[in-house]
Amino acid sequence: MAGLYWLASYPKSGNTWLRVFLANLRSASTQPLSINALNTNTMAGNRHRLAEVLGFDTSDLTAEELDRLRPAVYRWNGTRDVVQYSKIHDACLSEAWVAPAYVAGTLYIVRNPLDVAPSCAHHWNCSLDEAIVAMGSAQTNLGGSTRGIGTQVRQQLRSWSGHIASWLDTRGAPLHVIRYEDMHQQPLDTFAAAARFLGLPCDVENLQRAIRFSAFGELASQEASSRFVEAPASGQRFFRRGECGGWRDTLSVGQVRRIVADHRAMMARFGYLDDALSWIAAQARP
């Protein structure tokens, strides 16, 4: 029985928010769950978990060798007669990563790259321009240092567009795509469809409870009173703004042009292009 569901996205695209929602949905709790109660063990890039299943040290392997071995680990995890929801930021590297034999489905979240860029810049502690360049490059990785190792393994992202294409275009398990903006603007429909796809309760009452308990205000206030384990090492906040369209106040015309140039086709595909183009045009008017 295929038991693994991927919760896949480019970084800073709503993956954590979705996982908080799912955790609250699956729990009968009458209170919002702690944001630190998310199980980080099931993340695809968790080095410790990979080594445990492999039976040998990942730190004695190159990142390329490890990428060749990872599908076998996920296949093992996904065939244990237990359903798992696993966050993954890697681009989908091959059909082996979405084999229906062990992957029950991929839930993929897309967010407007104009909002992703400032969020990445903040989380990666780099400039906006550096984040935009990284998002446009097919060579961008998470945790790619070869001089040492971290608790997460190297994860190949490809470009923002390349990341989406890799998950949407690789043949394999069923795929369901949701937009971050729809999680905000049409929460009940969007989260209901996601829950249904993942084989979870989708009665209105439960959904509304889980939506309420994972609302941005709740997450930010939890983080204000106690640190979030997935926050950036720099000590800054993880749940910062969580809004849509903040890019209009943050990006310059040149930066928006750059992102559109890098990702035009994918932006059009997901309904982000028209707004970007009208905004650019509007800035030109005196």
């Binding site: 063990n41 445990e52 244990r80 007669d81 237990v82």
Partner: protein, 123 residues
């Protein structure tokens, strides 16, 4: 006083079984002060910095006992009647008879439920 060590990181792998949460429904015999409690010989137990951790080899489950429960476990080295346990605990700890009896019965039921001890009511 007794904890099923379930779901803790790493234990699932150690046990070699994916499902730690399966607890058998144990038929609850009537527990009286006269009941004789015997440690389940299937268990391996180890002192753990004041607490006790035990493992059921057969079922692949781990349990932890802390506090007064550790003394009760110690007393169960030989099969012992509930009333004898109560007497010993009352002598060693600052607790009144009624509370002691009651808490002991609750604890004993937990031990039985988890298969840590078996109970005989034969006179």
């Amino acid at each position: 006083m007794i904890r099923l060590l379930a779901g803790a990181p790493g234990l699932a792998e150690l046990v070699g079984s994916p499902s730690l949460f399966l607890l058998q429904v144990i038929f609850m015999t009537d527990l009286t002060p006269h009941s004789l409690l015997t440690r389940n010989p299937d268990l391996v137990a180890a002192g753990m910095n004041g607490d006790i951790v035990m493992m059921s080899i057969e079922r692949g489950l781990y349990f932890g006992i802390s506090g007064v429960g550790t003394r009760i476990w110690e007393l169960l080295e030989q099969p012992t009647r509930v009333e004898a346990l109560a007497q010993a605990i009352q002598a060693e700890y600052d607790v009144d008879e009624a509370t002691c009896q009651q808490d002991l019965l609750v604890f004993a039921r937990e031990l039985i439920k988890h298969g840590v001890v078996t109970v005989a009511t034969a006179g």
